[in-house]
Symmetry: C2
Subunit: 223 residues, 2 copies
């Protein structure tokens, strides 16, 4: 197993490859190969282990009621699978997980993982950071979904970035990232930005945004 990649996993942040070898030697674990195209877990199956992609890439996928397949996200090594679903009341895979390439998984059964958490405060904090980050990302996403128009979402994003005092800023997401985050098509983001410029709310130059009409932007968020 390539421990150098594992040391880049959020769960093992702050630990060296040597630390990880030592820690894993004290806890029962398995390494499981998977082949491109294979089903790794099915939506609704219980999540009984910590699962980290050691090599290769898997993806999350949903099938809706009309049979449409909706891709949720790619998870490349060294990402964890369904970490926010190991605990809690809905302790099941929320989506199907399918291998995009050949690769390997590291598995630690839940009772063994619990022992590991209680013995190692770095891994404990890392794991709580991971599942808290998931909540925090989702909270943020919900804020944006609640704005009805794309201009409202963008205005909120810009005002939030600017804070109380700043009148100019640099976007830290590409238009593609923003579109993904808002759950809209990329051309809609480009169009909304253009219109907000034409209507005199902002001036945009690449990633640099100047706030021209802060009050107007605030009004856009409640349209």
């Amino acid at each position: 197993m390539d421990y150098s990649l594992l040391s880049q996993a959020p769960l093992f942040k702050g630990l060296t490859a040597d630390n990880i070898v030592t820690i894993l030697s004290t806890v029962p674990h398995r390494v499981k190969k998977f082949q491109s195209g294979s089903m790794i877990s099915q939506s609704g199956e219980p999540v009984n282990s910590l699962i980290v992609v050691i090599s290769g890439v898997v993806k999350g996928e949903m099938v809706d009621y009309t049979g449409r397949v909706i891709k949720i996200e790619d998870i490349p090594a060294p990402g964890a699978l369904a970490a926010a679903f190991m605990f809690g009341d809905r302790n099941r895979f929320p989506v199907n997980v399918i291998a995009v390439s050949d690769g390997e998984l590291l598995l630690i059964e839940k009772p063994d993982f619990l022992k590991l958490l209680m013995r190692n405060d770095i891994i404990l904090v890392n794991f709580m950071d991971m599942i808290s980050n998931r909540s925090q990302f989702l909270s943020e996403k919900i804020k944006f979904l609640n704005f009805k128009t794309i201009k409202g979402k963008l205005a909120h994003y810009i005002l939030q970035k600017a804070g109380k005092d700043k009148l100019s800023l640099k976007l830290d997401k590409t238009q593609n990232d923003l579109a993904d985050f808002f759950g809209v098509a990329r051309p809609s983001v480009a169009r909304a930005l253009r219109e907000m410029e034409e209507e005199g709310y902002i001036e945009a130059k690449g990633k640099y945004i100047k706030l021209i009409d802060k009050k107007g932007l605030a009004d856009l968020t409640i349209e």
Copy 2:
């Protein structure tokens, strides 16, 4: 301090009042009184402690860019404040927290709380359940926000409850709860249900729903 109420807190689930007394005697903690109307914490302040409402009620509140106050939720005793924000990268209160009544808080500083988690597997699992439940609730909520129409949201909710085989079911949420969860007004939920009945998708009798046209319901989810 009334430990019997504390034994109903999700963090202390499975522990008796006596257990809790013993556990708290081993860890530094504070009890802080608050008065109705006082500000308990401000949006953006770091979350440096576990905070449990021991008595009384507090509420989360947001002020938007136009100065509108938006109430987020009431948190009565024995709920925890911002548990999903104690760890992770955005380790700050996401909203203002304001006292709705007089009451008391239990506070355990983060380093002391970490020690507690490593010493007590019940509290460790309870805490991970709490923050995972938050993620799971938010994931679910996002699913519903993504459906554009209220009929789409309801159709998804009904199909999800029914699963593969069932053709009738009992709603486990009131129309009020559904409206809150979908982020829409209650009369809109009542109207959508009525229309879905008139259009022949379902039959509704109070909380009991019969699925008449499952294929049609599935189509509603992608309108």
